[in-house]
Symmetry: C2
Subunit: 153 residues, 2 copies
């Protein structure tokens, strides 16, 4: 592919998250804590043509290498994502996302009576099921619309 076809150009140092399902890039940003007032330098492609996926999203964050924990959480919305760690324009590490056993923080329980949604200093915690997630505290299960649980700054 030429640079023109790539739509989003190469970065010098940072992380490239590729093969995100089309339209999910804003949810990926939310998971990574990139809110409306971010200082991070990012390039984002949304709904760009992909041979493999039809349409895909791609997110490039400069100067930041994602931890395995952050990568694992991405699996909930982007199970086929590939993570490329880039240094000096070269890909030095390539990861596939892996489904974690649980997710701490990041997601908010939809149950307003849950201890994690009140004023108590209790961080949210979800067990990851084959399909969906279950709140560790109130056992509410969310199978679809997991993206609704992602807080946006």
């Amino acid at each position: 592919m030429t640079e023109r076809e790539l739509r989003v150009s190469k970065i010098q140092d940072g992380t490239v998250i590729d093969h995100i399902p089309g339209g999910q890039a804003l949810n990926v940003l939310a998971i990574l804590g990139v809110g409306r007032a971010t200082d991070d330098t990012l390039s984002i492609g949304m709904n760009v043509p992909s041979d493999l996926m039809g349409k895909k999203d791609i997110v490039k964050i400069e100067g930041r290498e994602l931890s395995q924990e952050e990568v694992d959480v991405l699996s909930l919305i982007a199970p086929d994502a590939t993570i490329n760690i880039v240094r000096d324009f070269e890909v030095v590490e390539k990861h596939r996302v892996e489904r974690p056993e649980q997710v701490v923080g990041i997601l908010s329980c939809p149950n307003h009576s849950c201890i994690t949604t009140g004023n108590e200093p209790v961080e949210s915690r979800f067990e990851v099921l084959a399909e969906g997630v279950r709140c560790h505290y109130c056992e509410t299960i969310v199978r679809e619309d997991i993206t609704d649980l992602i807080g946006v700054e």
Copy 2:
């Protein structure tokens, strides 16, 4: 600048919104109605280096030419933005944003007692002041944090 330095590549047809204040791209998307489930093809650069602005954001939407009304609303958060309409890789029109007299829809009144925030079928309407906006119905004035009034899907 080379393609590499551009970070976000050229598009064939659509609109390029350039010189957005750094970090405001997600608010620009909200104004344009681009939510988490968008079908639009977009390229977004956030906090990329700019000679003029230090850091800037840039948003490219393919296959869509923004109306003057949409452009005007952008002035509230990106007063120095430039709008380039692109056809077949060439810029065919260039607009500066202009501050509109009022904004209908798009922003939500922060006053929970306002008629526009209840169940009545009344669209929000704000007069644009020299600094900030004033609700046409309840006269609530918001000077800062206008971006908090932008609903995200």
